[in-house]
Symmetry: C2
Subunit: 120 residues, 2 copies
DNA sequence: CGGGATCCTCTGGGATACTG
DNA sequence: CAGTATCCCAGAGGATCCCG
């Protein structure tokens, strides 16, 4: 991650702090940067769901992408994957506490977008 | 933009609304998705700055990228570009009201990241 | 000084097919 | 059902050179 910031002594303390910590912002944005991640998290916000269920909710996403995005969310600790040893196999996905927290962030973004005249 | 959502009647009204409007979230994220955009906006939050100044503040970004990102921010109405007919040429960049608003969003993200144990 | 023009690379996303 | 394995492509990002 090479996009560090250069602190400028002329800036206010708060802003200096912000700038020295911008990696945090980048890292946070990276968590939700995936094309289907926000939607997945919204669908999971109402409770745990199965893989096929999520796939059906995202008809424009391929199986491959649903799986990949879920893997990344899981790797980042936002989503929990629970496998049940049954036949046929069953896998349930749900938001971790941290995932819920990120979803709160998304909700905040949503409310902002609502106040703007964004292209539908 | 094909990543639409399928509304699910079982969901609460608020969540249905969220899901039917997720394009707004995507659109908002697109505004700040660029690699250097958050940093540029933070540097502009303390007042207008010149091109070279911004470039110096982002040593890892090429001139080309600084210019490109600024063009996009300008196109999205987040940054204003003012050219002064002088020699040598001078160009000042500043946040528009809408840009300030987006920066508020970034600040919110920043505060979230501060509460987390994100990898520095 | 503040860019634009070109070319190149790399990766996020997608299509398709196969499997425990 | 819930994936993995391959192959492929567009577009974001970068290097380099040139210009008014």
């Amino acid at each position: 991650m090479e996009n560090q910031c250069i602190p400028e002594s002329q800036l206010l303390a708060q802003q200096e702090k912000l700038q020295n910590n911008c990696p945090g912002i980048t890292a946070t944005l990276d968590l939700i940067k995936g094309k289907w991640k926000p939607l997945l998290m919204f669908y999971l916000s109402s409770g745990s769901r199965r893989f096929g269920e999520l796939h059906r909710l995202l008809p424009n996403a391929t199986q491959h992408m649903v799986a990949t995005q879920l893997r990344e969310l899981e790797h980042d600790g936002l989503v929990e994957r629970r496998v049940y040893a049954e036949v046929p196999p069953r896998v349930e996905y749900s938001l971790t506490p941290r995932g819920e927290s990120v979803r709160g962030l998304l909700e905040h973004i949503y409310h902002w977008s609502e106040q703007q005249n964004l292209p539908a």
